[in-house]
C-alpha cells in the first residue's frame, strides 16, 4: 500500500457466510434423502456412493495440482464433494464402480477445470458426467433395481454388495424398470399411458421413495424437506424450483387433458424421475444458473419445459439432465437479458423522466 498506509477500505463487516459454509449447507440438506436411499438400496449403493465421492475429490486434488493451484483451500470448500455426491445420486444404485470413477473424470477435469475451475464452468459438472455416462453406456446406466433395504431378506450382504459393485456380478433377477421407463416402453409397444400408469408404484410409494430409480432421486419427501431447508437458509430462492416444477406440471397437465392415452399427467411427471431432486439441487447450481431472480425464473421454466419435451418426445425416458445442460448453455444469454432495472432509470438505462412536483 502506498502513502497513508491505512489498510483495506470499507465495508469493515461481512456476512458470516462463506463458500465452504454454503456447500456444507447443501450437503446437510442432501444428507437425509441420501442416507435413506443408501439404506434402501443397500451395500452396493453405499460402495458406489463412496467410490464416486472419493473419485471426485481425488480428481479435484489432481486437477488443482496440475494447474499449480493451492490444493487444500479449494478441496476443503466442498464443491468437488458436492459434485461427486450429486453424481452418485444420479447413478443407478447398483451400477459398477467404474461408472463413478469415469463420471468423476468427466465431471471434474473436463467439465470444471478445463473451463478454469470453481465458478468458471458453463455446464453443471455432475450432469455432464451423468449424460456422458448415459450416452456411452446406456445399458449399465438404466439397470435399475427395486429397493432392497439393508438387512432385509434378499438384500445383498457386504460381500455380495462388493461383488455387485466391484465384480460386475449384477444379479439378473433384480432389475426393475423406473416408472418413466416403464411408461415409455409400454407406449412404444402401443399400450396407452392410461393403461400402463396404474401399474407404476402408487403415489405414496413414489413420495416415500419405495420405487426403482437413481441412487438418490427416489425419496421425494426427504428431498423436498432438504430443498425447503435450503430455502429457509436462503441458500436458494423459490424461483428455479417453482419455475421448473410449475412448467413441468403445467405442460404435462395441459397435454394430458388433451390426450390422456398419449401423455402422462402432471403429478406423475413431478413425482417420477429426478424432477424434484433436479428442481431443488441440480438446476439451482449457482455457477451454471442465472444470477438475477428474473433470470432464475426464466431458467427454471426452461428446464421444466425441456424436461417434459424430452421425456415425452425424445428417445430417453428421463430428461432432467439434458434439460439442465441445455439451459446451462443459455445462462449467459439469460443473464444479458434479465439485468434488473437500475435505480432512477428506465429499463433501457435512460434516466427517468422528471416528474413535476405535486
Amino acid at each position: 500500500m502506498s502513502m497513508g498506509a491505512v489498510g483495506p477500505s470499507a465495508p469493515f463487516t461481512h456476512t458470516p457466510n462463506s463458500v465452504q459454509a454454503t456447500m456444507l449447507t447443501v450437503l446437510v440438506a442432501l444428507a437425509p434423502a441420501t442416507l435413506f436411499n443408501l439404506y434402501l438400496f443397500g451395500w452396493p449403493a453405499i460402495l458406489l456412493f463412496t467410490v464416486t465421492v472419493a473419485s471426485c475429490a481425488a480428481a479435484e486434488a489432481i486437477s488443482l495440482g496440475l494447474a499449480d493451484r493451492p490444493v487444500w483451500p479449494r478441496l476443503s470448500d466442498g464443491s468437488a464433494i458436492l459434485t461427486g455426491w450429486l453424481l452418485a445420486m444420479s447413478l443407478p444404485p447398483w451400477a459398477p464402480w467404474w461408472t463413478g470413477v469415469l463420471g468423476a473424470v468427466f465431471a471434474i477435469p473436463l467439465a470444471k477445470h478445463a473451463f478454469g475451475g470453481l465458478g468458471q464452468n458453463l455446464f453443471n459438472p455432475a450432469m455432464v458426467a451423468r449424460v456422458a455416462l448415459l450416452v456411452s453406456f446406456p445399458v449399465v446406466m438404466t439397470a435399475w433395481v427395486a429397493p432392497h433395504p439393508l438387512f432385509a431378506a434378499g438384500s445383498p450382504s457386504l460381500a455380495e454388495g462388493w461383488a455387485i459393485t466391484f465384480g460386475g456380478q449384477m444379479p439378473d433377477a433384480v432389475t426393475a424398470a423406473s416408472a418413466l421407463g416403464f411408461v415409455k416402453t409400454e407406449l412404444s409397444r402401443g399400450i396407452p399411458v392410461a393403461q400402463s400408469l396404474p401399474q407404476v408404484p402408487d403415489l405414496m410409494d413414489m413420495a416415500l421413495g419405495l420405487r426403482a430409480g437413481s441412487l438418490g432421486e427416489t425419496s421425494l419427501v426427504l428431498i423436498l424437506a432438504g430443498g425447503l431447508f435450503l430455502m429457509a437458509r436462503r441458500i436458494i430462492s423459490w424461483h428455479i424450483p417453482v419455475g421448473m416444477l410449475g412448467a413441468l406440471f403445467v405442460m404435462a397437465t395441459l397435454f394430458h387433458a388433451l390426450d390422456p392415452d398419449r401423455f402422462a399427467g402432471g403429478l406423475f411427471h413431478i413425482t417420477s424421475g429426478a424432477a424434484v431432486l433436479g428442481a431443488f439441487f441440480i438446476a439451482t447450481d449457482y455457477v451454471t444458473s442465472p444470477v438475477s431472480k428474473a433470470g432464475q425464473l426464466a431458467f427454471g421454466i426452461g428446464v421444466g419445459v425441456l424436461t417434459w419435451v424430452i421425456r415425452t418426445f425424445a428417445g430417453y425416458p428421463e430428461g432432467v439432465a439434458f434439460a439442465v445442460l441445455l439451459m446451462n448453455s443459455l445462462t449467459p444469454i439469460i443473464d444479458q437479458y434479465s439485468r434488473p432495472r437500475r435505480f432512477g432509470r428506465t429499463r433501457q438505462g435512460e434516466p427517468l423522466a422528471q416528474k413535476a412536483a405535486r
Binding site: 497513508g4 491505512v6 477500505s9 470499507a10 456476512t15 465458478g119 431472480k293 435505480f343 432512477g344
Partner: protein, 499 residues
C-alpha cells in the same frame, strides 16, 4: 398511525452492534488541551482563515469564513488562543494534510457575541433563515457534509412540497442520531419545521428505522401538535439511510439517475442537521460540537460523546477508556461505508458520526475466494446493478462495458461486498473502475482541448502566412490579382471557422 410505505429493492441486514452505545446518554468530552479545526469539513471550497496566530478568540466566533458559493464557515469551539495555522493530517483515507487552525483552549469557555435568536422563524423571511444557517456553518451531519444553507436555496429553484428528515441511521454500531432523536426530539422536529419553512415545503416526513422504537416514540410525541409532520418507522434494511432510498420508501418518488431529489419535489436532511439548524435559528449558535459514537470491540467503554469540533480521535478514545486490545481497523464513520483512519492524531470534524476501533474477529474478514456466481450481490444491490458481472469485466479491464452496465451508478454502500460468500472486495473494484473512468474522461477532455487549441494554432499560422503572401503579392505588381483575392477569401473563411 400506520403509514403506507413503498417497497425498495435490495439491501442487507448486517448485525447491528448498536447495543454497546444505544442505551447510554450522550456525555460531553472534557475540553482537550488543543483543538485542530480544519478549513475543509464540507463539500465545496475550503473556508478562508479570518484569524491570525496568537490571536485570542471566543467560543462561537467565526474563525474562517465561507470560501465560495458552496462552502461553510468554521467557528471557534471554545475560547482560547490561536497557536498555529498549519498543515495537519486530515481525517481521510488518503492520509493527506490540509490547512488547519490550531486552537489552545484557555478553559474560560467564554462565548462570543452571538447573533440574536430569530424570534418567530415561521413568520421570518426564508432568506433570513438561509443566511443564519449559512452563518452557523451547518453541513449535512449524517456524513454527506453538504452545506445545509446551499440546499435550502433549492426551494427557490424547485417546487419542493416534502421535506424528508433522515433518522434511518442504518450503519451498524453508530447510534449518535438515535441518541439525538431520543434526547432532543423537540429540537429535531422544530429544526425540521424551520427547514420546511425555508424550503417552502408543506409536508415533513421523518423516517426512522424500526430498530429505534424509543426514537420513533419520542419524535412522534414531539410532532403530535403539528399535523404537517409525520414520523414513520421504516424497515431496518441497510442502506435505508441513503437519501434516494429513504425518499422512495417514504414518498414513493424515485429520483431520476444523476438528478437531485429536488427534481421530484423532495429534499432530505439528516435529523442531527435539523437539530443544528434549530440551534442556529433559535439560539444563534454555530456548529461547534457534534455527537460522535465511539464504539467497536477494541474500545473499553463505548460511548456517545458530545465532542468539540477539532478534538483529536485519540482524545475520544482515551475518554472511552482507551483500547481493550489492539484494533485491527480504525474507522471514521460506520463499518459499511466508513473511511479507514490514518492515525489517532486526526481531528473530529462536522461529518464524523462514528469512531470505530474494530477487532479482526468482528469483521468476519476472510481471504478472497473464487466467485461462485451465487447472485447474492445482485439481490443485495439497492441500485439494481449486477456486481458479479461488473466485477468480472473490471477484472479483465473492460471498464467501458462496466461503465455501460452502470458502474457509475454505484453508491458504494457495500451491500454486495458484505453479502458475498467469496468475500470479494467488490466496492474496491467499482471504486477503481470509476476512478479510472473518471481519469480517462479527464484525459479525453484534455485531449479534445489540446486538439482544438492545436487546430486553432494551425489556422492562425496559416492565416498569418496567407496575409503575408497577400501583402507580398500586393507589393509585387507582377502577381496575379485573382490569386491574391483567392488567398484573402480563404483567410476570411478560416477566420470565420475559428472556434
Amino acid at each position: 398511525m400506520i403509514r403506507h410505505l413503498f417497497p425498495v429493492r435490495g439491501g442487507v441486514h448486517p448485525a447491528y452492534h448498536k447495543d454497546p452505545t444505544s442505551e447510554k446518554a450522550v456525555v460531553p468530552l472534557p475540553m482537550p488541551g488543543m483543538l485542530f479545526v480544519p478549513l475543509q469539513q464540507h463539500v465545496g471550497q475550503a473556508a478562508e482563515v479570518l484569524v491570525s496566530i496568537d490571536e485570542r478568540v471566543r467560543k462561537g466566533q467565526m474563525i474562517a469564513r465561507c470560501g465560495g458559493a458552496i462552502s461553510a464557515p468554521q467557528h471557534a469551539p471554545t475560547s482560547g488562543r490561536i497557536r498555529d495555522i498549519s498543515e495537519v493530517t486530515a481525517p481521510h483515507a488518503s492520509g493527506l494534510a490540509q490547512t488547519t487552525i490550531v486552537l489552545e483552549p484557555d478553559g474560560a469557555d467564554e462565548w462570543a457575541d452571538l447573533p440574536e435568536p430569530i424570534e418567530d422563524p415561521f413568520a421570518a423571511d426564508p432568506q433570513v433563515i438561509r443566511e443564519r444557517v449559512a452563518w452557523a456553518g451547518v453541513v449535512g451531519m449524517g456524513g454527506a457534509v453538504f452545506p445545509a444553507a446551499v440546499k435550502l436555496d433549492l426551494g427557490t429553484r424547485y417546487k419542493i412540497d416534502t421535506l424528508v428528515i433522515n433518522g434511518a441511521e442504518c450503519e451498524p454500531y453508530v447510534t449518535c442520531d438515535d441518541r439525538t432523536m431520543r434526547e432532543h426530539p423537540q429540537e429535531v422536529i422544530d429544526g425540521a419545521r424551520i427547514i420546511a419553512r425555508a424550503l417552502g415545503a408543506t409536508r415533513i416526513v421523518v423516517g426512522v428505522e424500526r430498530n429505534k422504537p424509543q426514537a420513533i416514540e419520542a419524535l412522534t410525541r414531539a410532532a403530535s401538535p403539528h399535523p404537517d409532520v409525520e414520523v414513520v418507522g421504516v424497515p431496518a434494511q441497510y442502506p435505508m439511510g441513503y437519501a434516494h432510498e429513504l425518499i422512495l420508501a417514504t414518498t414513493g418518488r424515485e429520483t431520476p439517475a444523476g438528478k437531485r431529489t429536488a427534481e421530484v419535489g423532495v429534499v432530505a436532511y439528516n435529523c442531527s442537521t435539523a437539530k443544528a439548524v434549530d440551534q442556529a435559528v433559535r439560539l444563534g449558535r454555530p456548529v461547534i460540537t457534534r455527537v460522535v459514537t465511539v464504539s467497536g470491540g477494541a474500545i473499553r467503554e463505548p460511548k456517545n460523546v458530545e465532542c468539540p469540533i477539532g478534538a483529536r480521535v485519540g482524545d475520544l478514545v482515551a475518554f472511552c477508556g482507551g483500547f481493550r486490545s489492539h484494533p485491527a481497523h480504525l474507522v471514521n464513520g460506520g463499518p459499511m461505508m466508513g473511511q479507514p483512519l490514518p492515525n489517532l492524531e486526526v481531528p473530529v470534524v462536522k461529518g464524523t458520526a462514528g469512531i470505530l476501533a474494530l477487532l479482526g474477529s468482528e469483521t468476519n474478514a476472510r481471504p478472497e475466494e473464487p466467485c461462485i456466481r451465487c447472485g447474492s450481490c445482485v439481490g443485495a444491490c439497492p441500485v439494481g446493478l449486477v456486481p458479479v458481472e461488473m466485477a468480472a469485466l473490471i477484472r479483465r479491464d473492460d471498464l467501458k462495458t462496466a461503465g455501460r452496465l452502470g458502474v457509475g451508478d454505484c453508491i458504494g454502500c457495500g451491500s454486495c461486498a458484505w453479502v458475498c460468500p467469496s468475500h470479494i472486495p467488490l466496492v474496491q473494484y467499482f471504486n477503481y473502475a470509476n476512478g479510472m473512468l473518471w481519469n480517462q474522461e479527464q484525459q479525453a477532455r484534455k485531449n479534445a482541448r489540446v486538439k482544438a487549441l492545436a487546430e486553432a494554432h494551425a489556422l492562425r499560422v496559416e492565416k498569418a502566412a496567407a496575409a503575408k503572401r497577400a501583402a507580398q503579392s500586393a507589393r509585387k505588381p507582377a502577381a496575379s490579382p485573382a490569386a491574391s483575392e483567392e488567398t484573402g477569401r480563404k483567410a476570411a473563411a478560416t477566420e470565420e471557422a475559428r472556434p
